[in-house]
Symmetry: C2
Subunit: 241 residues, 2 copies
DNA sequence: GGTCAACATATTTTCGAAAATCCGTTGATT
DNA sequence: AATCAACGGATTTTCGAAAATATGTTGACC
């Protein structure tokens, strides 16, 4: 019987825990693209049996973060310039639609939540001082929340789910890019502008700013992916070759 | 060692088999919306242990065909008029984008495959004579293949995957509708027209026809959902109540 | 009669071992 | 030396039982 609110996370099944940890480890590239995911190693890493781990992996496979080859096991999904480009273009389209709908339908609640999300984001430092090679996980969450809040009024759970998944995928590339070439630009003002025009119902302008926001970030990522893709090479083989 | 081509399906893991069967049973509503999915029952139904079944269910959960409540097990995802409407609108947007790109980029290969897919579809009878209450699974597959072929040249695997998933979801509603109010209209000519204008690169016309194709089908489904939603009521409880 | 704790049953979740499969290596044969 | 079947270790996949959790029922108490 769970007594305190604090250990609310304790009551979740191992399965859910495995899922959360695996997703986080993959998105932050603590588990690198293309890295093999041996069940035995993961069992040890997360301290649980095979079932919850395999179940979580199957779920992540459907999300595209993990790939399964029959009888050969799982590995973290590969990254590539082609996939990144595809992701970018698709994201732009999806975000554009969602943003249009959201601006059209958003009411006071939407405005309030968006302002709140921006405020939280602006008070977060992007880089964790204790670990300057990675982006702060707090910032990352606030950033995701801001962009979610922007389109939250679109009125379509389906569209929101698709958008969230694409955002997640893109975030993995961002994490990868930061590892190889340091933090990206600071974009507080970009977010502020975006929020402003959205709240002003300047739909076309908002859509355009959002498009630029996505392409600017991901262009940088694409550049560092092309340059330093050594980082992802020789992954997944047992030894060097 | 698999010897013949015929039992190529034998070599797949039980996991993959469970996934395929569960997906099929859910999409055709042999497993009804909101129906509880007890592992013991599924073990018996598919003749395998718990692991492959739970793994398949987790994967389907990510696809939205199944829902999981912690420590209370799985059930087939609920259907609703609101969800159907959401699905319709989202599908129209996604299909529109994919179709635009496909018409823009499609070459001879695309044209040939599309013509082939249409031909196969037109030679399939929609209703299985042995089971007139359900749509023929062969037809259903050819129909899906046709619509896939239409957008196949869009050049975006991400978009294609999203589209396929939405199409699948919609198909479940179609199956449900057929159970309660008989087969829908025969739409061979509709498909033919759609193909024609696509091959002629009349983009706007194609997009509009595609939009109409989707909304016409799903409006009918929505109507029969509103009328005969008794079919899905009292599902999932052990006994009537 | 109503409330609720304690028990009993049904079901989900998790584990660890067994079976199946893959992959690299050895060694026999040509 | 080259080919390839057979072996062996590593790994994935699957099973069935055990543990954990939910749910329904009984009966004590007010």
């Amino acid at each position: 019987m769970p007594s305190s609110l604090a250990n609310a996370s304790t009551v979740q099944t191992l399965n859910a825990s495995a899922l959360a940890q695996l997703r986080s480890d993959i998105l932050t590239c603590r588990l690198m693209p293309n890295e093999r995911l041996r069940v035995e190693a993961l069992r040890e890493r997360y301290g649980m049996g095979t079932s919850p781990i395999r179940e979580a992996l199957m779920r992540l496979e459907a999300e595209g973060l993990v790939e399964l080859e029959q009888n050969k096991g799982f590995r973290v999904s590969e990254v590539s310039a082609a996939n990144l480009l595809d992701l970018m273009r698709t994201r732009v389209e999806i975000e554009t639609i969602a943003l249009r709908w959201s601006i059209e339908k958003g009411g006071v609640e939407w405005e309030a939540n968006l302002l709140g999300a921006f405020h939280r984001l602006s008070r977060q430092t992007k880089i964790d001082p204790s670990n300057p090679d990675a982006i702060s996980e707090d910032w990352s969450r606030e950033h995701a929340d801001f962009h979610t809040a922007l389109v939250a009024a679109c009125g379509s759970p389906t569209m929101m789910a698709i958008r969230a998944r694409l955002f997640e995928q893109a975030d993995r590339y961002v994490a990868l890019s930061i590892m190889s070439s340091g933090p990206l630009r600071d974009d507080v003002t970009e977010h502020k502008q975006l929020m402003r025009v959205a709240l002003n119902r300047e739909t076309e302008k908002a859509v355009e700013l959002n498009r630029l926001h996505i392409t600017r970030t991901l262009d940088k990522v694409a550049a560092s992916l092309a340059a330093g893709h050594a980082a992802t090479e020789s992954q997944g083989r047992k030894r060097s070759r």
